[in-house]
Subunit: 499 residues, 2 copies
Amino acid sequence: MKIKVNEDLQKEREKCTFNIEELTYFLDGGADKTFSRRKLESFFLSDLNLKDEIPMEYLSHKERYEAAVRKSCILFKKVNEWQQNDDSGSNSMDIYKSLLGGSVGSAIIKDGSPFVVHYVMFIPTIMGQGTLEQQGEWVGRAFSNQIIGTYAQTELGHGTFIRGLETMCTYDPATEEFVLNSPTLTSYKWWPGGLGHTCNYAVVIAQLYTQGKCHGIHPFIVQLRDEETWEPMPGIKIGEIGSKLGMNSTNNGYLAFDNVRIPRMNMLMKNAQVLKDGTYKKSVNDKLTYGTMIFVRVLIVRDLVSNYISKAAIIATRYSSVRRQSELKPGAGEPQILDYQTQQYKIFPAIAISLAYKFAATWLWNVYNDVTSKLEEGDLERLPELHAMACCLKAVSTADAAVAVTTCRLACGGHGYMNCSNFPNMYAMASATETYEGENTVLLLQTARYLMKACQDAKSGLKLTETISYLNNFKSLRRNNWSTDLDCICNAFLQVAGG
Amino acid sequence: MKIKVNEDLQKEREKCTFNIEELTYFLDGGADKTFSRRKLESFFLSDLNLKDEIPMEYLSHKERYEAAVRKSCILFKKVNEWQQNDDSGSNSMDIYKSLLGGSVGSAIIKDGSPFVVHYVMFIPTIMGQGTLEQQGEWVGRAFSNQIIGTYAQTELGHGTFIRGLETMCTYDPATEEFVLNSPTLTSYKWWPGGLGHTCNYAVVIAQLYTQGKCHGIHPFIVQLRDEETWEPMPGIKIGEIGSKLGMNSTNNGYLAFDNVRIPRMNMLMKNAQVLKDGTYKKSVNDKLTYGTMIFVRVLIVRDLVSNYISKAAIIATRYSSVRRQSELKPGAGEPQILDYQTQQYKIFPAIAISLAYKFAATWLWNVYNDVTSKLEEGDLERLPELHAMACCLKAVSTADAAVAVTTCRLACGGHGYMNCSNFPNMYAMASATETYEGENTVLLLQTARYLMKACQDAKSGLKLTETISYLNNFKSLRRNNWSTDLDCICNAFLQVAGG
């Protein structure tokens, strides 16, 4: 069936004064990337097996999860197919990223994939914190989905205060095993994606006890379910935590341990180690674990925030071009609602911040890669700055995204309230990022602490890192004349931020 | 099973410095009203047949609707039972109000009842705009649920601009019938609650054509489905519009007409009339229809807004008393998060505005009753003021409610994201009120227009109505010294509002 573009929409598009294709290349990072993206999108989005017979919103909680698993399995098969025929040099991680959290994946499994944490946290943690031997044992099997993992850190009673985690992992030198226990109800692991029914392995963060002493939290690989029967392993209490505002196919779960024994080699030992006799060997540098923690925050800003805002802005803009309401002059017909100032005040800022965060995210991603590559060489100088920037941008951008999606939704009236508009789902996904991977109020306090310290450094005449160097010189840049050129606008922002 | 109150919560309650029961009486409007409310709550909420075997959030869209119908039927039976045994003098409308939109109803059917519009709009419209003969024909049968109605005004293409409705109702003097038609796709009725599958009658708002002339929009009673078979009547296209952010058991529907014939007496003729020969007789006073339109806005402010905000504030406060996080001094234990200032800044304003809107709503309800009783006597003087106050309070309070529920939800971290917290449902219900019964931006513009006119009146030295009289005298009340007494605070608000 040939689809006819709505006339009002067509007219608006014809009024465009710039080269759309050129801007697309710029936003994608080059014409070749646009080409690859479109090829990938068309390969996956054209597959009729990946379409919903009944829209997800009509299904029960259980059916939604089953649909997500069914689609994920098709996706994994297609990834293999793609890789065998692809000559564009894109690597597996790039494809998985695009298919799990990215624009392609969220179009296919709208409500969160139960396999995201396997790729975004389970595999990266083993690669980042496991020894070569440990990587050899698990990474290959994980990549080929022979084992499915999750990352079990948060507990029912503990999110923000990670040091307060209660799960205990005690070394028993007699058998060279660790023994895992959940001493209280509040120590139940809570939230890990895929934990409900999908995974059979987990990286579990627990307090390490050896030789009668607690050494703080460390990561352990734990088998949760039998690889064939999927029955819980002895001593494992496991299940799904229940339905949520959104992300109802992520299959978030709970987990508790009753004297669960794992081999000594299941502690990820790239940094700290426990020797056969139970001797604890500290990590050379505690801060090396920072890198992984920051990674997901950077991904949120890069892959989620500007995606949600721009989708919302696009839907609202198109709707406002097509929707007509309230004849202002008798007989003149009803104007497109995009022509009302009140509508523009809602939608245009959303378009602007979707681009602003896209550029900020690209910058943050580059800083992240730069800083982590230097970490490997032992250079930790820019780590606090990266940490502060990731905290700040994650908090500010996710809060802005939730507001922008809501504003665009309300700008579409009752139609924006319907699930077929996709707004309710986008809001649920955007708002989740305000809480997970660092609750925003806590991250803002960490940003404030960093800025307070920087102000003191500035007063003491110390050299500041690049991003906050304006604290040293914003006063000397003060100007009195306003003009709309870029220099003056940037300067004005420095004055506001510095004052 | 005896439930033990959490110790932290118990301690907080014991610190209370005022008489809780006395405050409860005050908020309910007297000890007798508290007594009646509790008796009603206990009668309905203790019924095991009204509990969910499986929480609604796990069900499919279809199952949710069926559960809501099942519970509604039990509710109606219990209302009869209640009325036979009740000696407190509460009338049927009061009970239905409490059971459909109010606190009892929203506890039993959380996601909106498919029968609300029947009681809140169908019956009141017949009573307000039908002749005595018409009331005799339909109201009795409607009250005993022999017929179930809805109110079909909004169309797919028209919400705000009611004058632009496209549904046509043309009088045919040959048969003394009206003929209803939906000329376009955009003229499909869209949104009425209960229309999807629940109702068999509707008040339909359509453009009246008689003797070749259009006389603007008027209300007509139309039978939509056979009373026995529930099959659509000839020429009726009808169905459900689909799933939404919330209100998924309200069964919102669509409706179109293809030469549907109804008797002349199905036009509600208390005001305007069409005689047998097709002669149109105008209403004595067009503004009399205002009253009904304002009614629902007043109800939103009175029954929904402060309800949602106070529920959200209560849940967040209790959670913050029980939840402990982040040991500040080693060994001191983790403090209750309610003791953090950042948490107080989120929750305390929600508590405050829930009370502020409760009092404002009581005031608005009294003004509404006062003005409408004068309307009956032909006194329209305060109608514009009531209209402006209802517009303004509906817009401001619903927007505040959506923000307050969200802030309280985020204050509960991941737990607030789960449906078992009830926050997602409360948000969906609160946010819906931002759009329905007058889109908020449009209502704010109407408020602004009223205030601009009032300012001009004030400048011209005209006498202003009570609520805006401060525009005449806020300057003369200017004071320089600040004190925290009520007078000074009120005065400060007048200065800000007036300046």
